[in-house]
Amino acid sequence: MFAGLDIQIPRGKITAVMGPSGTGKTTLLRLITGQVPADSGDIQVAGANMRAISRSNLYVLRRRMGMLFQNGALLTDLSVFENVAFPLREHTDLTERLIRQLVLTKLQAVGLRGAAELMPAELSGGMSRRVALARAIVMDPELLIYDEPFVGLDPISLGVILRLIRRLNDTLGITSIVVSHDVSEISKIADQVFLLSGGKVVAGGTPQELQTNPTEIVKQFIGGLADGPVPFHFPAPDYFDELLSRKEVL
């Protein structure tokens, strides 16, 4: 899927990874987090080689990471409060009182302290993602990974998530990696952007540098043009030949 891909994520910054659908953005996140083993190459996360890391060390490393999944991935049999408390209960021996205070603090940060007793099925898409964000930061991670955090959100929820990502980065100094298609929104918060296509980085730099990048693929992606280096049509036989053929089914 990748060939000659070389990306460096600076500590304490927000790095956006963008690219057309199917370029492997989510796969890249899974490689970084060790969810998928790499066939070749070298992936270093906080000094650890992800290709050689043992399962126990991977779990130790993951305690320093948080990940926000596209759909929130809340545990559906637990309430909002218990979802956020889940990593604390699994990894710490904190008292119930302290767990309550930590969970309420994180829920307050995402504006959902009042929804603590609700179940995931009772939440909207935006609320689910904010709860998932509270859960992702409850262990105070050093690295936060967001997989398409803006998909399917209304403008209000989108703005809330956008500001939360920036605020978390500014106040806690968290290193953030955001995978997104949303050029205009991501430009508002990212410190640097990488554009992936064809298994490698085709452009990188600040959002402003990307806006002025003259290469065709960047112009197509930023401008949202239907055709260009990334074809609109999936490879297929000639259109007219297919329409005029006597075949009744494909």
Partner: protein, 253 residues
């Protein structure tokens, strides 16, 4: 033709190896999971308590049918008093474990498989892994052990209610002598009969729970994949239950 047969055979062998490997992982993770018994008791409640009504109703009806059929058969030989013995041996050794396991696979097994499959499809399993929580230990093992513990208890309840059903029809309706029904049952049914029933229900519990959690955990994360996993759970469980039933029966002869 030969090549296809060979591929089917190797696929089946690979599948069996994968299930055995999965069982080994579950067993390795079972001792630490036992330390958090609240997670297991929650699953005993989900698998066991929610299956109680269907198990008790089925046990009652199976026992009543056994009472009727047994009475008709035994009446031909003038030995209606043996109805208690016949019904109890039939229930404790055979019908109790087998029917309970089939019902358990349909009720609790499908629920386990679809729950785990949906957890996979909605990234809940991946989210746990990202939180450095082993889903096998936190989610799969408690469900597996909950099923293994529930099954023998449900089979025992099925058999007891079934005996009561047989007594209801045989004694209360068909007029078999109550004293003969109970005393013949007590003298003829031995510990080995009960042991056979217990061994079967434990084996079926392990098989049904293992198949359900395996199918659910490795379900393709789509609506179709979860549906297929649920169907495979019932079909595979039914075949394995009947195969194991034959093996254990033969072993106890």
């Amino acid at each position: 033709m030969f090549k296809e047969l060979w591929e089917s055979f190797t696929d089946a062998l690979e599948g069996l190896g994968s299930v055995v490997h999965f069982l080994f992982r579950l067993l390795v993770h079972s001792p630490p999971a036992l330390l958090r018994f609240s997670l297991i008791s929650q699953q005993i409640f989900n698998s066991g308590a929610f299956s109680l009504v269907i198990i008790m109703l089925s046990g009652l009806f199976v026992g009543m049918v056994l009472g009727l059929q047994g009475f008709q058969l035994l009446q031909r030989f003038g030995s209606e008093e043996a109805l208690g013995t016949a019904a109890t041996i039939g229930l404790v050794k055979e019908l109790g474990p087998v029917v309970t396991a089939l019902l358990f696979a349909g009720r609790a097994g499908t629920a386990l498989a679809s729950e785990l499959g949906l957890m996979r499809a909605t990234d809940q399993i991946s989210a746990m892994e990202m939180m450095a929580v082993d889903p096998i230990q936190r989610v799969v093992v408690p469900r597996f052990l909950g099923g293994v513990i529930s099954m023998p208890l449900l089979a025992a309840i099925f058999s007891v209610i079934g005996i009561y059903g047989a007594q209801l029809v045989g004694v209360q309706i068909m007029g078999v002598d109550s004293g003969s029904f109970w005393s013949q049952m007590r003298s003829a049914v031995g510990l080995s009969d009960i042991t056979e029933g217990i061994v079967k229900s434990i084996a079926f519990g392990i098989a049904c729970s293992l198949i359900a959690v395996y199918q659910g955990y490795y379900a393709t994360p789509t609506a179709e994949g979860v549906g297929r996993a649920t169907t495979r759970t019932v079909v595979t469980s039914a075949v394995v239950i009947l195969f194991l039933d034959y093996l254990i029966t033969a072993a106890f002869l």
